[in-house]
């Protein structure tokens, strides 16, 4: 297979790698090598994205709070988070005498592995899609809900009351808000008629789903944003680690790199929910098209899909950061009220409306 590389379509490139590997060794080893390559790439990607989301958050919050933010290590403080990571790596890992050693050490890994696994189903660009599962949306939902196990274990095994309270809150919160996230995504899957993320992206070639599905899609998007913010334990729903109430919540007793795992996983979860929102609502890596304006569409096509994907994800992450730094925190009963009395009924009705609209063909079609 000839070598082809295009920034607009990675299919040829990935197929060339596959063909080369299969030509060089047996199919078993070829697949194994591919797994290693993808794994290493993802580890690097994970670390870089995690670190730079921390940096971005610090800059964004500094901007909101009339501050400068990190500006000492490297230009504009660009290497600040790397310095922080090195500091965390070198810190002592405190082990607690009365803690459940096995679970205590296992918890950060569960949290970080689940956030890592969810990345596998995200389509980054045409052809840059690690595994195109036919139940992609379901897979991401299922994997990201595993993270709560790690949080609960962390709170339980630390043998600290603050940690336990944080974990209890977190359990109640994540399990409830998962419903709304799921319902919002189901609403969009009804419109798409598929759970496969590549199909969902492909269907948004001409019109993103948030426009195509008009009223119920926008409602679903708002519900998704609220619920996803809550599911990732971010402010104003950061009750699990409410520092003014519970010191640091479920990770009070963790130090050094294990704390960094929780921290990194929080940011990666944010990245994953933002990616999913970008994919399902805002067309993934598809450029913005206005039907009928051919020349405009051509200009939009000129921007590489990877940039479209990163731009949309960054926009949603920015929204979530904006929430966090402007709102005070909710109380646990208000949090659950919001979910069970408002978001869930609204999203249930919303699914019905969406199903009706799809049935009648009242979506904005072309």
């Amino acid at each position: 297979m000839p070598f082809t590389f295009s920034i607009y379509d990675f299919t040829g490139f990935t197929q060339w790698i596959d063909a080369t590997l299969r030509g060089a060794c047996s199919p078993f080893w070829a697949v194994l090598w591919e797994m290693v390559i993808v794994g290493v790439l993802f580890l690097a990607f994970y670390a870089v994205v995690g670190l730079y989301l921390v940096y971005a958050e610090r800059k964004v919050c500094a901007f909101i709070q009339n501050r400068v933010g990190p500006n000492r290590v490297g230009p504009y403080g660009f290497f600040q988070t790397i310095a922080d990571l090195i500091k965390l790596l070198m810190k002592e890992i405190i082990s607690i005498r009365e803690a459940d050693k096995l679970l205590f050490n296992l918890a950060p890994f569960i949290v970080i592995v689940t956030s890592f696994l969810a990345l596998a189903a995200i389509p980054f660009a045409k052809g840059l899609h690690p595994i195109d599962l036919n139940i992609g949306v379901f897979y991401v939902m299922a994997i990201s809900s595993m993270g709560v196990v790690g949080i609960l274990l962390a709170g339980w095994s630390s043998n600290s009351k603050y940690s336990l309270l944080g974990a209890m809150r977190s359990g109640a919160q994540i399990i409830s808000y998962e419903l709304s996230v799921g319902m919002a995504l189901v609403t969009m899957c009804v419109l798409a008629g598929s759970l496969q993320l590549s199909v969902i992206v492909e269907q948004q070639r001409d019109l993103w789903f948030i426009f195509k599905g008009h009223f119920p899609a926008v409602t679903a998007f708002i519900i998704y944003m609220i619920a996803a913010t809550a599911e990732t334990n971010r402010g104003p729903f950061d009750l699990a680690e409410a520092e003014s109430e519970l010191a640091a919540g479920f990770h009070t007793e963790y130090s050094g790199i294990k704390f960094a795992f929780f921290f990194l996983a929080e940011y990666m979860n944010m990245f994953i929910v933002a990616s999913l929102a970008a994919t399902v609502f805002l067309g993934g890596w598809m450029p913005f098209h206005i039907p009928g304006l051919e020349s405009f569409n051509h200009v939009m096509d000129f921007i590489p899909p990877v940039l479209w994907y990163i731009g949309k994800t960054a926009f949603i992450i920015l929204l979530m950061m904006w929430f966090k730094w402007t709102f005070p925190r909710l109380r646990i009963d208000q949090l659950l009220n919001l979910e069970w009395k408002f978001l869930l009924p609204i999203s249930l009705v919303n699914i019905l409306i969406m199903a009706f609209i799809v049935l009648m063909g009242w979506y904005i079609g072309l």
Partner: protein, 373 residues
């Protein structure tokens, strides 16, 4: 006589938690022992004394000029008011009439200190509720006041600007201009506080109807200052027992009747506006004259008992002196507002959640060195 057998009910999964002495929202080294049932607070037991320095005992071997510097270290955010209480007591005992200029300057600085204190309270209250951005907005504006203080009094936080008989130094030439600039600046920015926190739906949900204290309760707990006035207890010393130049200015005593966290919050926000009104009335009319009366180097109060109270930023600050006619006081007692306000914490928080405890604690605005002394 048969022994009575007391069957104790097994405590229903009640856990006790130490909140503090190191905890982000106890605002210092206050230790609260909480009994929790799930998230519900059953009992709050404040344990004081982690920053007890024995200031009242120390004053017994200090001259009155020296005591001033200790009162700074009580409620460091209303240091100027605490100073003024000592000075007023000494001046009253010695029958000294300070010049009008001193009275006006003391009033202006006191109100500036009150605004600065309420700004810092707003910062920390926002942070208690989880809105970190408030912290930076409040500190940004407080910085302007601290700069004014630095120029005139020589220090930013604990000024020790008062002394018996007047002030330590005269005003800085830029003082009036800078204060006027600040008033213009802060009048524009105070609505920002409302936009960011007061009008926020989450903040209202978190504070309305939380930690309700009736007027009778407030009086019986001795809650004063904005915390008492949030319950409708008219306790403003500036209004009822005017000192300095407070009888010459027009201002309203901010009162609210709801008695909940939101009322205490709004009282403080409105008090900042009232303080600006007071400063505006005085800043252009600072009379000329001396900044202090010539005092003897060693002040000896005539034998007797003296009490003076002032309105500090957190409530009524009282100072009680027993003098035996020597240069040191025989006994001295401070009535600190935070101590009485803290005593109401248990009654306020019972049956609420931990998050409410933090919000209520924030609305009481305690400063720990003032509680422990």
């Amino acid at each position: 006589m048969t022994e009575e057998i007391i069957i104790k009910e097994a405590p229903e999964q009640e856990i006790s938690i130490n909140m503090g002495p190191q905890h982000p929202s106890t605002h210092g080294v206050l230790r609260l022992v909480l009994s929790l049932k799930g998230e519900m607070v059953q009992k709050v037991e404040p344990h004081c004394g982690y920053i007890h320095r024995g200031i009242e005992k120390m004053t017994e071997s200090m001259t009155y000029q020296q005591i001033i510097h200790l009162t700074d270290r009580l409620d460091y955010l209303s240091a100027h008011m605490n100073n003024a209480a000592v000075c007023l007591a000494v001046e009253k005992a010695l029958d000294i009439e300070v010049p009008e200029r001193v009275k006006v300057i003391r009033t202006i600085i006191e109100e500036l200190a009150r605004i600065a204190s309420h700004q810092l309270w707003w910062c920390s209250f926002g942070m208690d509720l989880g809105g970190l951005t408030c912290f930076f907005y409040g500190l940004r504006d407080r910085e302007k006041i601290l700069d004014i203080f630095e120029e005139t009094t020589g220090s930013r936080l604990i000024q020790s600007y008062n002394c018996p008989g007047g002030l330590m130094a005269d005003l800085h030439p830029d003082f009036q201009r800078k204060v006027k600039e600040f008033i213009v600046y802060f009048r524009k920015l105070l609505p920002e506080y409302d936009e960011l926190l007061s009008g926020n739906i989450i903040m209202m949900e978190r504070s309305k109807g939380i930690g309700v204290m009736t007027k009778e309760q407030a009086i019986s707990y001795g809650m004063t200052g904005p915390s008492g006035r949030g319950s409708g207890f008219s306790c403003d010393v500036r209004k009822h027992h005017p000192y300095h130049a407070y009888d010459k200015v027009k201002f309203n005593e901010v009162l609210r009747t709801e008695g909940d966290t939101y009322a205490r919050y709004m009282v403080r926000i409105d008090e900042m506006r009232e303080s600006m009104n007071i400063i505006e009335q005085l800043i252009d009319n600072i009379p000329a004259g001396d900044f202090a009366v010539k005092m003897k180097p060693i002040i000896k109060l005539p034998e007797g008992e003296y009490y003076q109270r002032v309105e500090a930023a957190r409530g009524e600050f009282g100072i009680y002196i027993i003098s035996k006619g020597e240069k040191y006081p025989y006994r001295m007692k401070f009535r600190s507002p935070n101590f009485s306000n803290l005593s109401a914490l248990d009654a306020l928080t019972r049956g609420h959640k931990i998050a409410d405890l933090v919000a209520i604690g924030g609305s009481l605005d305690y400063v720990i060195p003032d509680i422990d002394r």
